[in-house]
């Protein structure tokens, strides 16, 4: 250990500490400092709770958004297969032509089932659903075309296969316009992409805030302990020994903040559960929201602890060095 005195044989006494003992004592010292840091947070409950609350809530927002986006993806993944193709027939098509087309389509292996909606039925349905009611009666002629709804087999329901089927159907001479019901899904996906990016952006900003908050809290801690740090440096404490209690404080802040965020997410999901169910019911979907899975929870805690450590590391690197005995 001694740089100046080999084994300190020249001094008052010989000091020798074995490697194994050094390692054990390092572990003991780590444990002691970790518990001391926790004890210090405990002794200043108000300040600690405030800091932990700020961290917890900062991590809650991106976590909740992340869960919402994940769940939306889960729902829409179920819808992906339900694509339906609407074929709008040309005005010249007679009912007989339409039946011929239906007969032809029934032989196609890609098609699971077809529904024929004649123009008159479509108009009636429109009259009922649109709420325009009598206004429709003033129309001279039925402006709606005959429609065939085509439901592809499961194998051809995927977005690309369904798109290929649509092209093939459009080749039929009776067909005026073909529309794949998957387009709205693509729009949803695009929206989800934006939402995901927003979540990342909000996450990054809030995580940065967490690092700054912890960094600043630790900086104040360091300034409060200025005298103690001076004494430690004078009696031969290494920088890492002086850093450790502050790093552990950052660690505890991160851990407690992460746990608080976890709790907050659970409460928020429970709170939102009924409204989400109501939303899902609109789509005739039975849907259970997935909360934080074990991995997601661990990731969140690890992230939170990591941010706590990062913040405290930045603070100690900058500020402990500035404090020198004079």
């Amino acid at each position: 250990m001694s740089l100046l005195f080999k084994g300190r044989s020249q001094g008052a006494s010989d000091v020798r500490i074995g490697l194994a003992q050094q390692f054990t004592m390092l572990m003991v010292s780590h444990l002691r400092q970790a518990l001391n840091s926790l004890g210090e947070l405990w002794r200043q409950p108000t300040a600690s709770i405030m800091t932990v609350a700020v961290l917890g809530l900062s991590i809650t927002l991106p976590s909740t958004l992340y869960i919402l986006v994940k769940n939306t993806e889960k729902i829409s993944a179920g819808w992906d297969q339900a694509s339906e193709i609407s074929l709008f027939l040309t005005a010249q098509t007679t009912a007989g032509n339409a039946q011929q087309l239906l007969a032809r389509l029934s032989t196609w292996e890609e098609i699971d089932s077809t529904v024929y909606v004649p123009a008159d039925d479509a108009l009636k349905e429109f009259q009922q659903l649109s709420g325009l009611g009598d206004a429709v009666a003033y129309l001279e002629a039925n402006p709606l075309p005959d429609v065939i709804l085509v439901r592809p087999t499961e194998k051809f329901a995927g977005p690309t296969a369904a798109a290929a089927l649509l092209e093939k159907l459009k080749q039929q001479r009776e067909v005026d316009i073909g529309k794949l019901d998957i387009e709205w899904l693509e729009r949803l996906y695009a929206l989800l992409d934006i939402a995901r990016e927003l979540v990342s952006l909000i996450g990054i900003l809030l995580f940065l805030a967490v690092v700054l908050i912890i960094g600043n809290t630790i900086r104040l801690n360091i300034l409060n302990k200025r005298d103690e740090i001076v004494v430690m440096k004078l009696i031969g404490a290494t920088d890492s020994f002086i850093h450790r209690p502050f790093l552990y404080t950052g660690f505890w802040y991160g851990l407690l903040g992460g746990l608080l965020a976890w709790l907050a997410v659970i409460i928020i999901l429970w709170w939102m559960d009924s409204s989400i169910e109501a939303f899902a019911a609109l789509y005739q979907k039975d849907f259970d929201i997935t909360g934080l899975t074990g991995t997601a929870l661990l990731t969140m805690l690890a992230l939170s602890v990591g941010l706590g450590l990062l913040g405290s590391m930045i603070a100690v690197q900058r500020h402990v060095r500035e404090i020198e005995p004079s």
Partner: protein
């Protein structure tokens, strides 16, 4: 033990604190450093404990040039030097025992060994009964003795004291000095900076005198000191 070779120290701003100081304190020697306030005593001690670096010249401890010591190694150097300060530098929110134990905890001693050594150190300075007290409850002389116990608890080969009797009456001062003598008897080199000339006059120890940053005498007594 401590060797200064042509050491000068100029602070930023041009204030010259030490100029061309030379001296050598042998292992096991006990010596005093004296001079008026501002003569450079504190600067000289800071060069030994690497709180400052010399502008010119070399400071050696046990033959090791301190100029070659990196920032990271400073902590390890300070473990070899027991330092005692005028204002004690105790941690007021910790007990006397914890204060004295600090150097051992830093070095990673076991709990048992730490207890044993702290008790021995407190015994030496006569504070065994006050181990659990806060330093705030102790008198100035007692606080200084806690500082001394902390400085010697890991048995460093070298003790540095900066005005250790600064705030104490002559009787307490003599007690403190006799503690240093005990350690010196045990083979520790002791180097004490003080402006308490009366204290030095009562003893026959080598005395180094600084004036305006220059070493003006180095000898047993101020009158018989020789120019260096």
């Amino acid at each position: 033990m401590i060797k200064f070779e042509q050491v000068s120290k100029t602070y930023l701003g041009g204030q010259r604190a030490l100029s061309k100081v030379n001296f050598h304190i042998e292992p096991g020697e006990m010596a005093f450093l004296t001079g008026h306030s501002g003569a450079g005593k504190s600067t000289l001690l800071k060069l030994i404990s690497i709180m400052e670096r010399p502008t010119v010249g070399r400071v050696l401890i046990n033959g090791h040039d301190l100029n070659t010591i990196t920032r990271r190694q400073i902590a390890f150097i300070r473990r070899d030097i027991g330092m005692i300060f005028q204002n004690h530098h105790l941690l007021m929110d910790k007990s006397v025992f914890d204060n004295v134990a600090l150097p051992l905890i830093i070095e990673g001693y076991t709990r048992k060994e730490t207890s044993r050594r702290v008790e021995a150190a407190l015994e030496m300075v006569g504070l065994s009964q006050k181990a659990k007290n806060s330093p705030l409850m102790l008198s100035g002389g007692e606080q200084q003795r806690v500082g001394i116990a902390r400085a010697v608890v890991n048995k460093p080969p070298l003790l540095l004291a900066d005005e250790p009797t600064g705030n104490l009456d002559p009787k307490l001062s003599m007690e403190i000095i006799s503690l240093f003598e005990d350690f010196n008897q045990a083979g520790v080199s002791v180097f004490i900076a003080t402006h308490d000339l009366g204290l030095i006059a009562r003893m026959r120890y080598r005395t180094l005198t600084l004036r305006h940053g220059q070493m003006i005498t180095d000898g047993l007594n101020e009158d018989e000191g020789a120019w260096q």
